[in-house]
Every structure is written in structure tokens, then in C-alpha cells.
Subunit: 352 residues, 2 copies
């Protein structure tokens, strides 16, 4: 099998890549689509998990970022900049490092533990903490960028969604057809919008013969789209989708309506249970990733899943980004015993 | 491009896989081989980084574990068992979960923080802590297993090395030929032995036309092979290779001698500097991974690298497994300023 060349090469004809776009890659994309025996049995359908945690920086953000940074280079930018404390800053810093340009990260001072920025820091990000809140940080990023030779790579950057379409392409390429349904976590609502754009692009060129139902799931404490209004203090265990005012709200709602899908919310308990279920099949995802599976289970309970349909659940990030949630959720204390062969053998036999 | 089917399918003819071996996979393998511009310039050669951190559980261990667990199932085992506090227990627990059998992990009590076991715990491992040391834990695992219907998946399991050969296969498949040299971290010495076995297998069947020089690098504080004797209290920043009595010592030394390669040690400072260099190109690896790159730089300084040779450095694990080392190594404190557009813009301009 030929080696994977990264998204800009592999999906060149589907992306706004020109002859002047640098061949930037960390071999992003090409993530596993894993058939889930347990979930398929449970909802009487064919369920696949798209494990986006195996992207280079551990989340789906790399799909959009590789294109956004490549275009920034093409346009002569001297740096990329974003306001982010999580997956976006990690991805931006990695691709900036790969490109040999600085990444500037603006965060609200005191808002985030340094550990959350571990990736950005080791990739060499330059971090500015403002005495203000996150919305101000984002506002300053946008306004400052107008005066500096830098490119904003927050979700306002249109290339992010263009690049994230490739998730849909890979799903269709692996299945040989569109799935019947896509279940996907919704935070800022960009990913569901990008997947829909990708599914439509493949369908228009007859790569696939139909379109999937797009089903997006917000955390109940941050369910702005479900409620139809912004939420000023979003709260959820699934921190990566703790967003009260999704930037791509209109695109996401269009995807849901055009596809005959749904937008719904899932509780933290449901997310936690799904997080555990996924791990019980050997896949360690970020808590937010589990919103897609929690949503699927909710749809099944409501009788909305047709027998034997093909469903893909997107797992957006790697569980290694949040080991504390794993320890807390597993809630297992090791059994402690004396060091004798008799005791150990008896204890192990009891554990079988 | 066709979807990757996992190692047991993709390299079926090269592995001890029979008709009765279950089709076990988490889509392991198929990891990126990334050309390093900075390292290639620095050592005047063609340097590639094999990023094993993008395996399903974040380390190269998945290559051997998928085969070891599949064979355990084939042989009718009811569980897998190992003594491990790190990558081995994570991998064993993931494949056991995927297979629907228990994984039993034996650790020395008080030796390891629960966070290091986060992966094993969330995958559902059953953990037994003995009041003793690591060597006793391993000894009990081996002896208890003789009395129970379980399979030991520590490095004594021969299928581990068989599966790890696939790393060499992938390197050759991606390059279209053997590299001139392989640089690889050495802890328990199994991986260097497995790569050599894989390179020889490809060469014997004329898939490749020559064999690489095998260059293994131990951490100075755990350099048992370099010193030619076991080390009772190994110490190094690179915890994944902090092993004083390598199980595969003889195989590793044979690989080095047969290939005309070398075994050498690198200091913690050299490992840390290499760790930073790799990240500066956008790749976040475990500290132990950086021993391969530190070793390459040492060889270059000694004048041992031929101009334009093709070199592959193995990066054995994902940096997300050890975020503390990233924060500590980056040693960056964010610049804190007031929330005004003027201040922010000036600060950002200064950062460019």
C-alpha cells in the first residue's frame, strides 16, 4: 500500500489548493473507521466510529488547520494567530512549527491551567494572556490582525471548514458510498457544517449516490442550537464542546434541515456513559467525542434508527488530552494484596 | 485510496496468522513517515521520522499486542495478563476490551500514580497491586499464569516481536526500499530486535535489496547494553526506556553486530534537546522517543553519517502520554498584559 501523503495532496482537486500553495503536511487525515460490534448490536444497525484522535495533534482540527496555515503561507503571512486554550491552539502551533513561522496564542489570563497548553507550548507557541475574558481575547485577535502581517486561524478563517470536508471524503472512500446517517458532536458547529459540505461535494460529482442524514448533538448545558439562543455560561463535562454561541450556527442548522437530520442535546451522564462504552471497545476518545455516540443511543431509544442502516459516529479527539476524566470515570481503585504467589494467583482467579 | 485494514490483514503473509486467528484490529499501524527538513539539513542526509504515537493507544506496542491478543484468543485464553505501568498495559487493555475478554494488570503497590494508568483503567483493566517491587510483579504474573487460563502478554510473549516487525515493513513500503540506517530508542531492547527481524524478512524475499545499519540508543542512566551489565537502579527523564535489565539484550546485540550498526547511549540533556527539536517541527513525541534523534545527532557529530544517506528515526510514543514533560521542557510563562487593543497589538508585534 502506498504511503499516505497528507490531505492537501490526497484531496487536492477538492480543496482550494493552487500551484503556489506549499506542500504542507504532518500526514494528517487517514484516520481509522472502526466497526463497532457492541454499538451495532445495541442499536441493530451497522455502526462505525471515525477515530479523529489519531490525527497528528490528536484532534479533527488538523484537517482544517493544515489548509489554513498553507494558505497563510501562500499569502505571505509571517505568523498565524488565534484565541484558543485547547485543540485549536495545539493544531495551529504544530503546523506553524512545521512551516517555520511563529504561532501567537491569545488567552484570558488565569482562565486555563498551563497543562492544557502543553502541546502549544512544546510546539513553540508564543502566548499572550490578557486580563479579560475569552470573547475579548478573540476580539483582540481579529482586530490586531488587521494591523499586522498575520493570519487569524480561528473559525472565522474560511479554509478551516474547507479542510474539514476531508473527514466526509474519507468516510465515503472507506465505505464505498455515503453512510445513511452521520452522528457528530456539536460545539462551535463548524465540523457538522464542513462534513455536510463534503458530503454534498462528493454527491454532486456522483462519487456517492445519496446524502446522509446529519445528526448533531450538543451537551445539554451548552445546547444553544437546540434552545435557539446563545447561552452565556455554558457548562458541561465535555469541555471541547462547552460553547454557548456557536460561530457556524446557521450553516449547521441548514445542514440538519437540508439532510432531514436532527439537532438534539445529550446530558453529561449520557456523554459519560457513552465515553465509557467507547473505551470498553478499546477506543480512548475525548469526553466531547462521546456526544455523537450518546446521541445515537438517544435516537435509538426514540425509535428513530432504521434496522441495518449504516451510521458513522465522529470521535473528534484523543482521550489522552484529558486523562483526568478517564481516571475519574473509571473510578477503580486497584486491589492491594501481599506479595505471595498463593495470594496473587487466588486474587487473579477471582478477577476472571 | 482503500481504507487500512489493520496489521493482521495487511501483513497477513508475513505473520503467524492462521485461518483460526480472529480478525482483531483497532486499525493499528499505518503510521506517518514524516520527512524532517530541519534534521535533514542539520546532518546533511535524508531523515524521516516514523511517528508511532499515532497508533491506537499512542505507542508502538500496539503492533505486537494485536497479534499477541489475537493468538491468545485463538488458543482459547480467557484473559490476558501483564505486569506493566505504562504503554504495555494500555495496549493490552485496549485489545482485550476490543476482544471482549478481561485484561489483568499487576503492579507494585505505591509505585505508580493512578494517572499513568488512566488508559488501562478506562479500557476496563482489572488492576492488582502487590506489596512488592516490579520484578516480583512480573515473576508472579509468569508463575500465576501457569495455573490459570490466561496468556501473559509481557515481552516474554513471542508474538509481540513478530507483530512489531511490521514497523520495518511499513518503513520499506513507504520508501520503496530499505533505509540506509535505522535509529531507534532502546529500553527493553525488543523493538530494535523486531525491526531487524522485519528488515531481514523483507530482504530474504527480495522486497528490498539491502539491509540497514541498526543503531540503538539507550538513556545514559539506563545503558545496560552499552555497559555490558544490568543496572539495578536505572534513572532517566525518558521513563519509557528506564529499564536496567533488557529482556531482549542478546537479540538486540545480534542485530547491531550483524547489521554493522551501533549501540550507544545519550544523556538526558541530549534527549531533552532532541525532544524539543522534534516538537519544533510539529511532532509531539514521548521523551523516550527522542533518544533516536539524540543518537542520530551524536553519530553526526562523530562524523559517522555519510552524506545523503537515508535515515529513519523511530518515535515510539505520543507526547500526550506525558504532558508534564512538555510544560517543564518548554518552560514558557505567558506574557500577561491589560486588555486594550493598543497593548495587545503592540505586544503581538513585538512577538513576531
Amino acid at each position: 500500500m502506498q504511503a499516505w501523503k497528507g490531505l492537501l495532496e490526497e484531496y487536492r482537486e477538492w480543496l482550494p489548493v493552487t500551484e503556489r500553495t506549499p506542500h504542507l503536511t504532518l500526514c494528517e487525515g487517514n484516520t481509522p473507521l472502526i466497526y463497532s460490534n457492541q454499538l451495532s448490536d445495541r442499536v441493530r444497525a451497522n455502526v462505525y466510529l471515525k477515530y479523529e484522535g489519531l490525527n497528528p495533534t490528536g484532534s479533527f482540527k488538523d484537517r482544517g488547520m493544515v489548509l489554513a496555515v498553507a494558505k497563510a503561507l501562500e499569502e505571505g503571512s509571517q505568523a498565524v494567530i488565534c484565541a484558543s486554550t485547547g485543540n485549536t491552539s495545539a493544531s495551529a502551533s504544530a503546523y506553524a512549527a512545521r512551516s517555520g513561522i511563529p504561532s501567537l496564542i491569545v488567552i484570558p489570563h488565569g482562565y486555563v491551567a498551563l497543562g492544557k497548553l502543553a502541546q502549544a507550548l512544546i510546539y513553540g507557541a508564543r502566548v499572550l494572556a490578557i486580563r479579560g475574558n475569552f470573547d475579548q481575547a478573540l476580539q483582540f485577535v481579529r482586530e490586531s490582525a488587521e494591523h499586522l502581517p498575520v493570519t487569524v486561524v480561528n473559525s472565522v478563517n474560511p479554509y478551516r471548514l474547507d479542510g474539514q470536508q476531508t473527514g466526509a471524503f474519507e468516510v465515503c472512500d472507506a465505505l464505498g458510498e455515503s453512510p445513511d446517517r452521520l452522528c457528530i458532536p456539536v460545539g462551535n458547529a463548524g465540523n457538522i457544517s464542513a462534513y455536510w459540505k463534503g458530503f454534498k461535494a462528493y454527491h454532486e460529482k456522483n462519487v456517492t449516490s445519496f446524502l446522509p442524514k446529519m445528526c448533531g448533538f450538543e451537551a445539554e448545558g451548552a445546547a444553544a442550537l437546540v434552545r435557539g439562543q446563545a447561552i452565556s455560561n455554558p457548562e458541561t463535562f465535555a469541555t471541547a464542546i462547552r460553547i454557548g454561541n456557536p460561530a457556524s450556527a446557521h450553516l449547521a442548522m441548514a445542514a440538519v434541515h437540508e439532510s432531514g437530520g436532527c439537532i438534539d442535546s445529550v446530558t453529561d451522564d449520557e456523554i459519560r456513559e457513552a465515553y465509557r462504552l467507547i473505551a470498553a471497545e478499546g477506543i480512548f476518545a475525548e469526553p466531547a467525542s462521546a456526544a455523537s455516540v450518546a446521541g445515537l443511543l438517544k435516537l435509538y431509544q426514540k425509535g428513530d434508527i432504521r434496522r441495518d442502516e449504516t451510521i458513522v459516529c465522529i470521535l473528534t479527539g484523543n482521550g489522552l488530552k484529558d486523562p483526568d476524566s478517564a481516571v475519574e470515570t473509571a473510578a477503580i481503585e486497584p486491589l492491594v494484596i501481599d506479595a505471595s504467589l498463593e495470594h496473587v494467583t487466588a486474587a487473579l482467579e477471582h478477577m476472571l
